[in-house]
Amino acid sequence: MTAVELLEFARGPALWASLAVLVAGSLWRIAGILRLGSKPDLSEPRSTRLLAGAMRGILARMIPRREFRDRGQLGVWNAYAYHVGLAVIVFGYLPHIHFVERLTGLAWPPLPGPVLYPFVGLTFVSLFIALMERLTDPVRRLLSGFDDYFSWFVVLLPLATGMIAIHQSYAPGAAPAPPLDPLPLAIHLLSVELLFLWLPFGKLAHAFLVFASRAVTGAALARRGAPL
């Protein structure tokens, strides 16, 4: 298989297959949890504004409570760093916007390179800090297993391969033609597809499960009038 053929494979069947697994796997996971069902809470609620509680639960947990900011804040700030960094890279880099445009027809203005490139560096460094913390902190080391480390790896891989493919040039405003050397891009795309394949099954599923978990607790605590 030539590099061009590999790129065609990554842009074609591999992409669609991985997206299908991403969507089907995520739906399966959510449906598998929903089918477990729940019993109605018969206690008299202090508040019936459960939807508001769920929304508050989702939003409030984005920022740690003041009372808990007295220790161990490196992990918290570092998590902000790589989450924000990844979001900026995924949604602000022109080739990624082209990629989304090709799939959905949606496009938006990209961030300029001088703004975006520092985020690449920041994200790369903070992912390694996250790994170091996981390996050196006794609590995180005890809690962590294959899922945690593999999830870290499949997030880092697209970033690393993307950095190799970063110097490809693309004409603005339209989906680009294959670059002169298609191999780095093919590998980058395949690494993204590995992430798509893994996301529904491992810890990366927190990308969607977090909303359900926070909402469930937010509603339950709101029902009792307890602090969120």
Partner: protein, 436 residues
């Protein structure tokens, strides 16, 4: 129901890991599953837990305490369980050795205080999940023996320490002599039914006299039942819904027999959780009466002008928040308004209210003898919060907290009286005139 409750207690004679695993899976409903699946192993709950803070033992990380339940869930009920089994990737079955080890983690080193729940960035109600995990542990026979014994005594006598009606009757008579007020017993049609905990009855019986004075000034009818007077629910602490429901049904039966409008949950955090939040779900039906925690009732009476306070305690007082009332029950402001009414010099602990540390004895830990050393060690966090205030006396609204705090204060050689909020309020009631 009673037979089913006794069957649970028999499980301790022949611990069975598979029975525990089945119960873990049965407890993992939709909401619990969303939470079990969401953990990203960030470890923030460890820093929130007073047991981990003092021991530094990573096994005391709250989410780690759920490992056996998570394993059973992932093996049997999680969305990809069957595929993982087919591929040989399912977690192994939980073993008896594992559950014996986790008994210390799920019981001795967890007060169900909910501080971990509050800190979790994924919104996982870790304390709620530990409460569910205890159902599996208790069903399998892996709860601490002290809790099985307390449950057995509670089923036999009505009280976890074996206290029966004659003992309460004697305390009531003493309080009637002390206050010169009558304490109504089994008064049908009373507005309020007061239930008590064994700790209050034996350790802080003055609360009965305090209640008599409070209800007289408020002009409210009340009664104590001769059967179903015990509010302590060891079933909730050990994690047996059968035992919990049986004990709870006795209070509900008393309330229905005496046709009261409202049951007053006493100064006890977990009793409030059991009666107010878990009760209707344990019994499978809604109550025909209201449940109000005593601090809420006193606050209501004061705001309605039915209780008139005069004078204030001049000492530097600080209020210890019982976890089940604040973090798990939503009662934060009522005790503070009451404190404002009776204290001229109230000072808040750092992190008071939502982030207050547990006394160390909640969630049944105070009843587990083998956990005593760990409980005293965990008190170090509370001690620091208390000492930061320079308080001359500590006030709380939970008899168990009060007892545990007194023991710990004594253990650390501190000199700090611990007061009950209800008694403090009664102490500052405007004196009744002869005509009144």
């Amino acid at each position: 129901m009673s037979e089913r409750a006794r069957m649970v207690l028999d499980s301790v004679k022949a611990p069975d890991a598979r029975r525990a695993a089945r119960e873990f899976v049965a407890q993992a409903g939709r909401d619990a599953a969303f939470q079990l699946e969401s953990c990203v192993h960030c470890g923030q709950c460890a820093d929130a837990c007073h047991f981990h803070r003092v021991s530094g033992d990573p096994r005391h990380t709250p989410i780690y305490k759920l490992q056996p339940m998570l394993k059973a869930y992932e093996r049997e009920a999680a969305p990809f369980a069957s595929v993982r089994k087919l591929l040989g990737l399912a977690p192994p079955e939980v073993t008896a050795e594992e559950l014996h080890e986790w008994s210390e983690l799920v019981y001795d080193s967890c007060n169900l205080c909910g501080r971990c729940t509050l800190v979790c960035p994924m919104g996982i109600d870790i304390a709620g999940l530990v409460r569910l995990a205890r159902e599996g542990m208790a069903a399998g026979g892996f709860a601490p023996p002290d809790l099985y014994k307390a449950a057995e005594r509670a089923l036999d006598t009505g009280s976890p320490i074996g206290l029966r009606w004659p003992a309460l009757k004697r305390q009531i008579e003493l309080q009637e002599q002390e206050t010169g007020l009558r304490v109504p017993v089994d008064a049908e049609g009373a507005e309020y039914l007061v239930v008590l905990t064994s700790i209050e009855i034996m350790g802080f019986a003055e609360i009965i006299g305090a209640l008599a004075r409070i209800f007289r000034q408020a002009g409210a009818s009340w009664t104590i039942p001769s059967a179903g007077f015990e509010a302590t629910n060891v079933g909730v602490q050990m994690g047996s819904r059968e035992v919990a429901a049986e004990l709870l049904s006795r209070i509900v039966a008393a309330a229905e027999r005496l046709k009261v409008k409202c049951v007053i949950s006493p100064e006890c955090g977990h009793a409030y959780s059991a009666l107010r939040w878990e009760g209707p779900n344990l019994l499978g039906r809604r109550y025909g009466f209201e449940v109000v925690q005593i601090a809420e009732l006193l606050d209501r009476f004061v705001r309605e002008g039915r209780l008139r306070l005069r004078g204030k305690d001049a000492r530097r007082l600080t209020f210890h928040d019982p976890c089940q009332l604040v973090r798990r029950g939503g009662i934060t402001e009522a005790p503070r308004r009451l404190m404002d009414g009776v204290s001229a010099n109230q000072v808040e602990m750092p992190g008071s209210g939502a982030a207050s540390f547990c006394c160390g004895g909640g969630g049944g830990v105070s009843a587990i003898h083998r956990a005593e050393g760990l409980r005293f060690a965990a008190f170090e966090c509370k001690k620091q919060q208390i000492e930061a205030t320079g308080a001359e006396a500590l006030v709380t609204a939970c008899g168990n907290c009060r007892n545990v705090l007194e023991e710990a204060i004594d253990h650390y050689g501190m000199t700090l009286p611990v007061l009950g909020l209800t008694e403090l309020v009664a102490q500052y009631l405007e004196p009744e005139t002869r005509e009144g």
